[in-house]
């Protein structure tokens, strides 16, 4: 009898006694849900809210794309446009990508490491609420012209306070996830024996615990200055100069670390746990976390291939270390996953498609970032960098779709149909490419970054921006459809026959 069967039969026996008891009202059910300390519920809340925010974020992207179709006309008020550009970055990273991956980790990691619950569950729940209220505050400030560079001073203060709450919440959740992997593993499970998704969640959590306080430190200075003096840190206009590094590479690479774990975990299930060079996967995930060094030093290392060899080498070495070592990590994991699939002739799993394409998008974004940092390509201050951000964050979103399809039956207890997942994964891939690739091209023809009107260049401006708008709109549709599919399947779909073994990969390969 599987663990699920035991659990189901237990539910069966208890259901008869429950039927005589009073049925919970909607209000009590909601209160029970909102005050829960069950890790699966906390994870579901994080995943659900990040999906809802993902739809809003994609709509923001579509509006910004549409606004740039014609540089001479404006659909949206000029004052709001500046806030929309900033809001898109904030939302992609702090409202969607990080909470989605942390939500999956909260729900799945305790089951994978054999813990009864997540460590410091109430702290994780508090973290969820801090994050949620922080996002709402930040959203309110953006709506009232209060983001970085905003005109309403009080609303900029609200933005800074909201961002502080978001950071505090994400730190609490990260600490819970990291402590669970480090201290709550079942007897006999060493760290090297933890499933690969849990390992990636640990690496991502520790990376966030090391980088978010650096953002918090800058934020405290900026907030105190903005509240009292408004001179030292450049007042409202200076906000982005001090905290802007958190919304770009290499900080955004950290967000994508769990995508490698999701892919490797799905592949491990497909190959029935036979993974050659398993330790290599751990190294690959670890290599991606070298982005932490670039993030905490807030350094952007570029390379210039003109000049003498000595000068080139001087800029090339830090460039390779800070920008390309993480790419090597992705390549290692991708290579080992493909090797395992080839060796074992594994059967295709629907969840594999979005997870694989998601990592592919992250990889493309990281390669694009490496190109962006080559001075000779003259891409700085162009929309190319927006393309990098969207590639990576939508890659995380795609990977999240794969992870929900794969882990969902273990989190919710019901199956999700394969064909729609496959279709939505492919549509999501198309949406990501449409929302990012045109800006890679427009970057080469000097379309300026964060500018919606008054620019001009030789090329089909309307085409690139229309494609981007369509890509974002398609992503909004994909997330909505997947959310509806998941909600329907996990509420009334067939009961899952998955066993706990499906969450693990074999230790010995």
């Amino acid at each position: 009898m599987t663990a699920l069967e035991v659990s189901t039969s237990a539910t069966s026996s208890s259901s008869s006694s429950e039927s005589t008891a009073t049925k919970p009202t909607l209000l009590t059910a909601v209160v029970a849900y909102l005050t829960a300390s069950d890790h699966k519920r906390i994870g579901r809340l994080l995943i659900s809210f990040s999906a809802i925010f993902a739809v809003g974020t994609a709509i923001e992207g579509a509006v910004l794309g549409a606004e740039r179709i014609s540089p001479s006309s404006s659909l949206v008020d000029a004052g709001i446009i500046v806030q929309l550009f900033s809001a898109l970055r904030f939302d992609l990273i702090f409202s969607v990508a990080i909470p989605l991956m942390l939500g999956l980790a909260v729900a799945v990691v305790p089951m994978q490491v054999g813990a009864r619950a997540i460590a410091f569950a109430r702290s994780a729940m508090l973290g969820f609420y801090l994050w949620l209220f922080g996002v709402i505050l930040v959203g309110s400030s953006y709506l009232n012209n209060g983001g970085p560079g905003g005109g309403a001073t009080e609303m900029v203060d609200l933005f800074l306070a909201g961002l502080g709450l978001v950071i505090a919440g994400l730190l609490l959740i990260s600490a819970s996830v990291a402590t669970t992997v480090l201290a709550s593993r079942r007897a006999g499970m060493t760290l090297i024996e933890t499933p690969i998704f849990s390992w990636s969640a640990l690496v991502a959590s520790i990376s966030l615990l090391l980088t978010l306080p650096v953002l918090a430190g800058a934020l405290i200075y900026v907030a105190v200055d903005h509240t009292y003096e408004r001179a030292t840190f450049g007042a409202t206009e200076g906000v982005n100069a001090w905290i802007g590094w958190a919304f770009t590479s290499p900080q955004i690479f950290i967000v994508a670390i769990p995508t490698l774990g999701v892919l490797a975990q799905i592949v491990a299930t497909m190959t029935r746990g036979k993974q050659p060079l398993r330790a290599g996967l751990f190294v690959g995930v670890g290599l991606m976390s070298t982005a932490v060094i670039g993030a905490v030093t807030q350094s952007s290392h570029t390379v210039n291939f003109s000049g003498n060899i000595s000068d080139i080498l001087k800029s090339l070495i830090p460039y390779l270390f800070f920008n390309d070592l993480s790419i090597l990590g992705v390549l290692v994991v991708l290579g080992l996953c493909l090797l395992a699939l080839k060796k074992e002739r594994a059967k295709l799993n629907a969840a594999f498609v979005p997870a694989f394409l998601g990592v592919g998008m992250v990889f493309t974004g990281m390669v694009g970032n490496a190109g962006y940092k080559i001075i000779n390509l003259e891409l700085s201050n162009t929309v190319f960098e927006e393309g990098v951000l969207v590639y990576i964050c939508y890659g995380v979103l795609l990977s999240g779709i794969g992870a929900v399809a794969h882990f969902g039956p273990r989190i919710w207890g019901r199956e999700i149909p394969s064909k729609p997942v496959l279709g939505l994964g492919l549509l999501g891939f198309l949406a990501t490419v449409l929302a990012s690739l045109p800006y890679f091209i427009a970057g080469f023809v000097d379309q300026p970054a964060s500018v919606a009107n008054g620019f001009d260049y030789s090329g089909p401006i309307w085409l690139w921006n229309s494609l981007v708008a369509a890509g974002h709109a398609l992503m909004a549709l994909v997330v909505t459809l997947f959310f509806a599919l998941a909600a329907k399947s996990f509420r009334s779909g067939p009961i899952s026959t998955a066993t706990s073994a499906d969450l693990f990969e074999s230790v010995n390969g």
Binding site: A178, Y228, T232
Partner: protein, 204 residues
């Protein structure tokens, strides 16, 4: 017929690998990165401050700390010494905990709490003696930001001490993990303060 679905049941026996110590380590990393980043920005501002002549005209000084501001060194040095006492007392609690001596654990933790209260008091004394306003200039704004953040970390440490103290008073004499984790966090907070003391109060 049962139609309700549940996910996996409880897992096998869990071996808790000193979670208090793990979370203290993570909290330490967060605290260190927080103050470290603030000190880095402080140093950046200080090194970019314009140069001015010293009052006797013999050398050039960085125009960073306004001339009319005097750092109360007695109070700040006393804070540093108090941190050393805090660490010794925290280690005494660990020593007593290993011997299941709950009275001494409580006594040691009580002294740690007192020293932490003294630290908070000393920080407010520093503010009073300096008599500067947060709006008075760049130095003052940054001084209040970094020292108030340190104060918040000390208050977090105080909360940790209270937790360990309550558990000790409640009779958990063998609560070694928590007491050890508390001592570890005290060491880290002391080291963080030492860095801040050196940069902000000594080098100014």
């Amino acid at each position: 017929m049962n139609t309700s679905a549940t996910a996996l049941g409880a897992g096998p026996t869990v071996v808790m690998r000193r979670p208090a110590l793990v979370v203290a380590g993570l909290l330490s990393a967060v605290s260190a990165m927080l103050i470290g980043s603030m000190l880095a920005i402080w140093l950046d501002f200080r090194s970019n401050a314009p140069l001015r002549e010293s009052p006797d005209g013999s050398k050039m000084l960085r125009d960073w700390l306004p001339e009319n501001i005097k750092i109360p060194e007695v109070a700040t040095n006393t804070m540093m010494m108090t941190f050393v006492i805090t660490c010794v007392m925290a280690q005494w609690a660990v020593y007593s905990s290993r011997r299941n001596d709950s009275k001494h654990v409580s006594l040691a933790l009580g002294v740690v709490l007192l020293t932490e209260i003294a630290l908070v008091n000393a920080q407010f004394a520093v503010y009073t003696q300096m008599g500067i306003g947060v709006r008075d200039g760049s130095y003052m704004t940054m001084f209040y930001a970094v020292t108030a953040t340190m104060l918040a970390i000390i208050i977090v440490c105080m909360g940790f001490t209270l937790l360990a103290l309550f558990r000790s008073i409640a009779g958990r004499a063998g609560d070694r993990d928590l007491v050890s984790a508390h001592a570890f966090y005290c060491y880290v907070v002391s080291a963080i303060f030492a860095a801040l003391w050196l940069v902000v109060y000594v080098q100014k």
